[in-house]
Symmetry: C2
Subunit: 899 residues, 2 copies
């Protein structure tokens, strides 16, 4: 181009004006971002030659321009007018034509489904004049009048922002005065009156008459859809669901078809397969002589789709054919809306169907068998969380229930039992053969024997990763946590919720899959691992790179883990073993010992217990690795509660009876205060304990070694590994390892055997990750303890924060999610990345895994896969989901690599 | 070289055999690693032509070879024999020569001074025969006999490992039987008998006779010196002082000279300048007719060196000349040992002199004036810690004191006052005009008003960075912390130590510079900032790059900080202001408010107090920046103590009098329990408080803005900056900043002014450092809160750990030092490095400093300088030391760059 040309035509170099409007024929499934989900769906169907009422879509881009500039984009209205012309031509009707008026629907449709936005305006184009045309053309004046009053009502509410109640009240009044009970019984005369009243309401509230001009109606409706993107509810919804604000919504304008034009008309929704079971058959419901909103309103009960075959066999056949084509086209189950107008079928929408966990698994596996999808696609069709749901007893969905309160769904499954308010009593009643549910404000390690005895646990405080939740999930027991509406009175042994009092012994039910607390006994159904799930997980196993381990502290847990496909134990906590009633006295004796001799004597009494524990677990996992963590929690957790002791001592002092009891209580209080810490999470625990009292480690390592040797005599292959917790400096690990190796050598010498037991460390202190190159000099494996690592990286105590500011943070969107549920890739993940890279630089064959709660979370597993970990370890019930998640991570990772 | 040659002479390609022995003439000051400190020192003097008795040094390398192989290095003994020959020639005597025997001293001497090692064997070479030769040559048989028995005694003890007490007992017995009180009075006959007894003791304990052959004596002595490197005490000493184990020790063999050969002989030690004051004059003491060990044993009182000028003027003159030369040669004050043998002066050792803080400063400044050293060298001659000592009252070193116990020297200076055991009482007594010392097991923020009232504080628990220590240092008050020997009985208001009971009101003294707790009143001396210190700090200011800020919460602190040279306030904590008695009720009202309205009302009452606080500080610092941190600690710190409340409630319940008092106590207890956290360090505090209750921030920011505006009216330039604590995610800072800016805008509008107040954040949560690139988007400055950053990076609670495992860790060498005292460069420092680099990448003009306790620690300041920080902030009394440390860091950094 010549320079002079540029100079004289400064606009000549501009980009061509953007196209703001697309006929359905022009769009397609791949234009979701520009046309929204709904627009892309109808366009795709149109292109595929399916019977879709003609129409066009105004793009999200037009919406964004409108929102930015406060007015329609230059040229947009012209485009709309032009496409409207085309639509009029195809429909053989014209908008505003008195004789043969075109009516259209106006629907919003963003790229993501967004319930917070403007929905649908039907019958747009009606006014006093076109109303008559419609009456004449259809030969049904009542139909036309009803369509008109519906239009004013919807337009008034949705576009003009008038409260729905005003119209509803008028409608009720009309029915009352006519002494009829349904809208359909209203006479034409009454409907005419009603639309007059509706028009008056509009004028009263907008201070101007209802727009009569159809073009005016249309442009205002378009503007209203655009504006709805920034409506209060839409913004809140996006914030909550982390949908970006700069996407905008499209607007779909489509010729109306009517399902309410007689018994050969109708409307319905259907799925290409059963979304509850996954069975391959058309599943859905419809209403004859009705519009979509009637289905939604639930005034008449819809029919199951099967009877359509009898009612309108031709229509059914063509629908079944379309459904089949749509499923093949989209290669997934479709959720479709349709309308039948006087014997003609029209498709209004199609989208991927939501489905239950069981259905998702069956559909995925079936579609592979049908060669409709690849196994990689099948693996992406099931959420790992859904797998969890398949493994637990569930409340029978058909059961009638009275919900007393709703807490956090902290560990899935349903449990029914007698309420019990302390752990000892739980154990007692369970021993007496009673099923119980432990109810506590929150739990701590003292309550573990009660948790073991109970069917499930209910707390009023704490989050999904609170002690109760974690332990319950580990045990595969249902847990509802943080049920704030619960008023628990531990003294009176009762709780109250929704005005109902549940006393000790009263039977009630919890549903850990939904968080519901339900009065009385409720029927439950056994879900179990179905054959389809097994097939799916086998597929997953053939794809994933990460090994899946389980966290298990008992032989029972270990057996369950193995059953669910665990390839090892990634975390065997030894302290839960200490908590059991038969050992606790020796543990306390050990803690209170003043002299090393006394401590060793107490430890000697614990040794046989620990040895037996390890024999049990190692035997259950024979041939597979079991990573045993040395004692971790602060010692005061094994002593009586401080505050209770303080109250006891104070009372005894006041009673002046004093004596031995007081002296004993005072001694214990002094011991507890001696060990008490302001921040126990950051105190004397983990390897610090072992470095100060090596005799504890020696006992534990001896128990491991003796158990291994005993099993070897029984020809059972035991593969224990020893893990040192809470290392922050390489020197801590070096010295701990010295003690461990010396003990192993002693036992080896005594028993005349050789041990080949790996020694490694948790990486749970930020400094360990930052100095991993050094730490790895003394480690054969690293295991990320991401619970603690998250606590310290964020400076957030999980115990304190989940019920308090952390929950608020997530609600307010300060944090995208609870970092104790989903691994934080930017902070914690970055530290992990250092440890992986620098640890392996020192020790190339370093095995690296994760054993925090994140090990069972799909999002976190994806991070672990990307970081190059060797395994993830999670509670036994999360193992199947983790197997799937690891496969998904691999597939996503493969794709990510190409980017 | 031909291939065949290599084949036939496989040793031909070896390195030349190392040289293991150096004559003093061959060595020098730069060979300290090979010859040890002592060997290098005498060699340097010998080369400079000073009168040093001839000798030679066996290298540390020979020692290492010996230790590795268990025998002398090949060729070493030949070298020794050869150098001994040279020594004999120079001395004109021969080892073992009956007529004219050479006697030598054998001394160990490592590169670092190591008291744990073998010391000195004198008079080696004596036996029954040479003894006679010595007697004849000196004409003094008694002298020879005395030398002989001393030799057997020293050799027996040091080389042969016989307990000193055995010889001492024999010597005592001899004196007793002769009825004399000093060794010198023993007759030759008795001395002869005594050596026979000593020889018998040796034979009895070693099962072999005392080595008669001088060469045998010598080689065994050399081996003993080598072995002493791995002696138990030496290893412990090295471990404690972090001296590597692979250095080895040298052995010095030197011809004996005798200071005990009459009144023209003598021995002494002297300094080239007064090591107490730094005054430029020879300072030292000597004994005539004595050997070095007599001086050490303290049997006779030495004379001040001045009288030597009168006693032996020629000797004095040549000594003074040598001293002058040595100082010029080494360019530092020397600590010298000398012996005079029959009118001839011999120099035995010279080394750099230890000196007091005051002397160090004066000497450094003087030597620059004398053009002896450069200003850069002068800055390296004073330890920043020493500067601290110059700023506080000190116990008069001449005072006689009874030390009751010794704790940690936690905040320097001496204080005398009446013992008082709680903060309220301290305030009360102080108001009544009494000087008090607050005695607590440990302190917490509740005690701050007591600390303010007291002259100093004494605790039985907690380390150098415990609450008491930190607050005391901040206030410049003496503190002795962690005095474990103290038995404090708070109920009886008394403590006991060393059998002495100190009751409330009893006057005693603490010395925070040494950790001593002293009975009664002790004389103190005012040290103050001397003119020399000022000169030195001016030098430092001209060199350093880092700015020095102070942490100050009150106008008084601010004024003091400025006086000491602070260039701004790096941390102004607002919560200490909340703790004051007149505000605390409103603070509690604010915390306990159930409705936001009530909370705002309480905050409105606090506003005038805060505004006044800020006016005071900003005025004191006029023209300089004051970084104000918004409220940080968990709210329960402002409420009564939980356990005390629990006891009160229990007692009231028991008393059955119940009533209003019980109800009130129960309400408060409930509130405290509501806010109570398991790990408050990781709980609801810092910016989390402000995000949940923005009205608190709004009040504080309003107070800052109004104070600024008020001062502007008074034409005072106030430069506040606002700091958001405990940020872990960029979004926290973004939202906090929104609130701050909105409040600033409001006040600006109300007052018709404009504010230009910087907003920044603490980096104290590891995640903030890891995501600094994002955090910096909303920050104008970063301030490292290294106390918390260290706590979280290590997973160690300072409050809990310093008294427990952390102290043990440092003692055991698991950690090289307490990371709360010296910044950990590998973990915490690495995080800081990320934040500096990535923060500045986002915001190039980001100001970065540190405001943790490390800001006053020289080692940590060096890390900060290397990291490229802009400033360090520390307590006012540490500002002068920090100025010096920053200069030293710069000088070291410059050097480091060349490496």
């Amino acid at each position: 181009m010549a320079k002079t040309a540029i100079k004289t035509h400064p606009t000549a170099s501009r980009k061509p004006a953007p196209k703001f409007v697309y006929d359905f024929e022009e769009g397609g499934a791949d234009m979701r971002a520009l046309l929204g989900g709904k627009g892309a769906g109808v366009a795709e169907m149109t292109k595929a030659g399916m019977p879709v009422p003609p129409g066009f879509t105004i793009t999200t881009q037009a919406c964004l321009t409108y929102l930015r500039s406060g007015g329609f984009a230059a040229g947009m209205l012209e485009e709309v007018r032009q496409h409207l012309g085309g639509l009029e031509e195809r429909a053989g009707k014209r908008l505003g034509d008195r004789a043969n008026p075109l009516l259209v629907s106006v629907r919003s449709g963003a790229a993501f489904s967004m319930p917070g936005m403007m929905d649908t305006v039907l019958n747009l184009g009606l006014n006093r004049e076109t109303l008559e045309g419609l009456a004449q053309r259809t030969g049904d004046r009542r139909f036309a009048l009803d369509a008109y009053r519906r239009f004013i009502q919807m337009y008034g509410r949705i576009v003009l922002g008038i409260e729905a109640e005003l119209f509803d009240a008028e409608l009720e009044q009309a029915k009352k005065s006519a002494k009829v009970s349904s809208d359909a019984e209203l006479s034409p005369a009454l409907l005419e009156k009603l639309s007059d009243r509706f028009l008056a309401i509009v004028e009263e509230h907008t201070k101007e008459p209802f727009p009569e001009d159809p073009w005016d109606q249309l442009t205002r409706a378009i503007a209203a859809v655009f504006d709805s993107w920034n409506g209060r509810r839409a913004i809140a919804y996006r914030e909550f669901n982390h949908i970006p604000n700069d996407l905008g919504t499209a607007v779909n304008i489509q010729a109306m078809v009517f399902g309410n034009m007689g018994s050969d008309s109708g409307t319905g929704v259907a799925f290409t397969r059963d979304p509850a079971t996954g069975e391959r058959r058309i599943f859905g419901e419809y209403l004859l002589n009705a519009q979509g909103e009637d289905v939604v309103a639930g005034i008449r009960t819809p029919q199951p789709i099967d009877t359509l075959e009898r009612d309108l066999p031709d229509v059914y056949r063509s629908f079944a054919d379309i459904a089949e084509r749509l499923e093949r086209h989209y290669r997934d189950v479709q959720d479709m809306e349709f309308t039948i107008e006087q014997g003609r079928l029209y498709m209004l929408q199609t989208r991927t169907a939501k489905r239950t966990a069981a259905a998702a698994v069956k559909i995925a596996v079936d579609m592979v068998a049908e060669k409709l999808i690849s196994k990689e696609e099948a693996l992406g069709r099931v959420e790992p969380d859904q797998v969890d749901h398949l493994l637990h007893r569930a409340i029978d969905p058909k059961a009638q229930v009275r919900v007393l309160a709703t807490g956090l769904a902290a560990s899935p499954g349903a449990a029914t039992g007698a309420a019990v308010f302390d752990a000892d009593r739980a154990e007692e009643m369970a021993k007496a053969g009673k099923k119980v549910i432990l109810v506590r404000i929150e739990t701590n390690p003292d309550d573990v024997h009660g948790l073991i005895a109970a069917e499930g646990v209910l707390t009023s405080r704490g989050g999904r990763t609170s002690h109760a939740a974690v332990v319950a999930r580990g045990m595969g027991k249902p847990c509802v946590a943080g049920t704030e509406a619960l008023k628990i009175d531990l003294n009176k042994r009762r709780f109250e919720a929704s005005g109902v009092v549940v006393k000790e012994g009263d039977v009630f039910t919890i549903d850990g899959s939904t968080g519901r607390v339900i009065q009385g006994v409720v029927a439950t159904i056994e879900a179990g691992v179905s054959g389809d799930l097994e097939k799916l997980l086998k597929l997953a196993d053939s794809v994933r790179r990460l090994r899946i381990y389980a966290n298990a502290d008992t032989p029972e847990d270990a057996r369950r883990a193995r059953l669910f496909g665990a390839q090892g134990i990634g975390l065997c906590r030894t302290e839960h073993m200490f908590m059991q009633q038969d050992r606790l006295p020796y543990v306390q004796e050990m803690i209170l010992a003043q002299e090393i001799g006394d401590r060793q004597a107490a430890l000697a009494k614990l040794l046989p217990f620990q040895r037996a524990d390890f024999i049990g677990i190692l035997e259950a996992m024979k041939g597979l690795p079991v990573i045993i963590r040395l004692i971790d929690p602060p010692l005061h957790e094994f002593l009586p509660n401080h505050d209770e002791l303080l109250v006891e001592v104070t009372q005894l002092r006041d009673s002046k009876k004093a004596g031995k009891k007081l002296a004993r209580a005072e001694r214990m209080l002094a011991a507890v205060e001696e060990l008490r810490e302001q921040n126990p999470m950051l105190g004397l625990r983990g390897c610090r304990l072992g470095l100060l009292h090596p005799e504890i480690i020696e006992m534990q390592v001896r128990a491991i070694a003796e158990a291994t040797s005993e099993l070897r005599r029984q020809r059972v292959k035991a593969v224990p590994e020893i893990m040192v917790p809470l290392v922050g400096a390489a020197e801590e690990l070096r010295r701990s390892r010295e003690t461990i190796e010396a003990t192993l050598k002693s036992v080896a010498r005594e028993q005349g055997v050789r041990f080949d037991i790996k020694i490694g460390t948790m990486i749970e202190v930020p400094r360990a990750a930052l100095t991993a190159a050094k730490v790895a000099e003394y480690a054969q494996f690293f295991s990320f303890g991401t619970n603690d690592l998250t606590q310290m990286t964020y400076g957030v105590s999980r115990d304190d924060a989940e019920g308090s500011f952390l929950r608020q943070y997530v609600t307010d969107g300060i944090l995208p999610s609870n970092p104790f549920e989903h691994l934080d890739p930017d902070g914690v993940g970055r530290l992990m990345g250092f440890a992986v890279k620098e640890g392996r630089a020192t020790t190339p064959d370093l095995e690296i895994g994760i054993c925090g709660e994140h090990g069972g979370d799909a999002q976190s597993i994806a991070v672990c896969d990307k970081l190059g970990l060797d395994y993830v370890s999670c509670s036994p019930f999360r193992v199947p989901g983790a197997r799937l998640a690891a496969a998904q991570a691999r597939l996503a990772g493969g794709a990510a690599k190409d980017v």
